[in-house]
């Protein structure tokens, strides 16, 4: 389908979660701050779910970032929700990283406008230099054989993702479960608090809708993260994209 094709193409363009986030923020002409991140969370999750084929090795990074966005969202919907110090830090960190990434994008403009445009060339090697056979004491058959073997051993394997990420993803899964529980808990207290109240333009019904949809979204990303698995002992990671619709709670 043409629309899906478009999304695919668009996603290919993004280098990673930071690239996508920055794009979403700049598209809405926002500055980088936690409020902006809150406003683009839905866009981000939507992109993630619309992407059917995008580079699988990057998916882990995309999901990790989604979890941080969800923390921000959780906190904004349920101010009573307590975040751990580590969670607060990961939110600050994301903001900081986005700012740095934005700076790199700006600087790469300078590099782009120069690369290959006005080139300085090195001197071509002289052709008439007569070679003089000059071996080196290390040139022995056994040493050269050990070198070629170590080169072959060090050749890159196909898409190897470091173990650290596997651990992070597993803890992400736990984190989402944990977050779901916490949101549910906070929700029940919030219901008591908000019952009968209408504040800040939100009707009670709206508020419930938002929170319920949010829980659904958590579930969605949780499924996504569970689909991340280690396929063999050497740690190639496969990730299946979940074909689920995004809850519409606008």
């Amino acid at each position: 389908m043409a629309v899906e094709e478009n999304y695919k193409v668009e996603l290919e363009v993004f280098q990673g979660p930071l690239d996508l986030l920055l794009h979403l923020i700049e598209k809405r002409k926002l500055h980088i701050c936690d409020v902006s991140l809150l406003r683009i969370t839905d866009d981000y999750i939507e992109y993630l779910n619309r992407a059917e084929q995008f580079s699988i090795k990057n998916s882990v990074d995309f999901v990790l970032t989604a979890s941080i966005l969800m923390l921000i969202k959780s906190k904004s919907l349920l101010p009573t929700l307590d975040l751990t110090l580590e969670e607060e830090q990961s939110i600050d960190d994301l903001e900081k990283r986005l700012k740095e990434y934005q700076e790199i994008k700006r600087l790469s403009g300078y590099v782009k406008e120069r690369f290959g445009k006005r080139v300085s060339f090195f001197r071509q090697p002289e052709k008439n230099v007569k070679p003089i056979f000059s071996p080196d004491k290390n040139i022995t058959i056994s040493f050269l054989n050990s070198l070629i073997n170590s080169i072959l051993n060090n050749l890159p394997k196909k898409i190897v993702t470091p173990k650290v990420i596997v651990e992070k993803v597993i803890s992400l899964e736990k984190m989402i479960e944990n977050l779901t529980d916490r949101v549910k808990e906070s929700l029940s207290t919030s219901f008591k608090k908000f019952s009968g109240l209408q504040n800040e333009g939100f009707t009670k019904k709206d508020k419930i809708n938002v929170v319920v949809s949010f829980l659904a979204m958590l579930e969605l990303v949780k499924q996504g993260s569970i689909a991340v698995k280690q396929s063999c002992q050497f740690g190639d990671i496969e990730m299946e994209n979940q074909n689920v619709d995004v809850p519409d709670y606008k």
């Binding site: 363009v13 280098q15 990673g16 979660p17 930071l18 690239d19 090795k57 990057n58 990074d61 970032t65 990283r97 740095e100 990434y101 700076e103 790199i104 994008k105 600087l107 790469s108 300078y110 590099v111 782009k112 120069r114 690369f115 290959g116 445009k117 006005r118 080139v119 300085s120 060339f121 090195f122 001197r123 071509q124 090697p125 002289e126 890159p156 190897v160 993702t161």
Partner: protein, 190 residues
Amino acid sequence: MLSLDSQIEAILFLKSEPVAKKEIAKILDKELEEVEDALFVLKGKFETRGIVLLSKDGKVALATSPEMSEVIDGIRKAELSRDLGKAGLETLSIILYKSPITRSEIDYLRGVNSNFILRNLLIRGLVEKVNNPKDQRSYLYKPTFELLSFLGISKVKDLPEYGKIQKEVEDFNLSNSSDEGLFNDSSDEV
């Protein structure tokens, strides 16, 4: 007797690859400071010439003036591959402005794994990796002379905003004093 700067010019002309200032000092039996002063004089002499002096990490090399780019490109047999791609451009920019930098730092800044693109840039000779004195298991990535030549600049410092960005990096490192010295750029005043 040729002046020291002219002697250095001859050596760089002959070698046609980057030479360490220390090695020049050794070859000519001079102090490093004398070599540095002479390189400064040489650079001045090249101002309006067809040759430029490139310098990086304590090494220097001669290359054709970037103003001759088009003409020279036309007479070379080998074709220049100017295609960088988004990932390549991003990674090169990080290495140019923030080097020396480890792969995990690059990954962190980009938000994605940079293994593949780094290998690509290494093979193209646009970046190089050196051992990390702070950590035996990792490498530090740096720009190469080849990269300077592609950018038509004579040293990394000639990039716009370079000083400002380096200062930010230094300030950051000062506040994280455990990293002390890691990002120290050797002086390339030439």
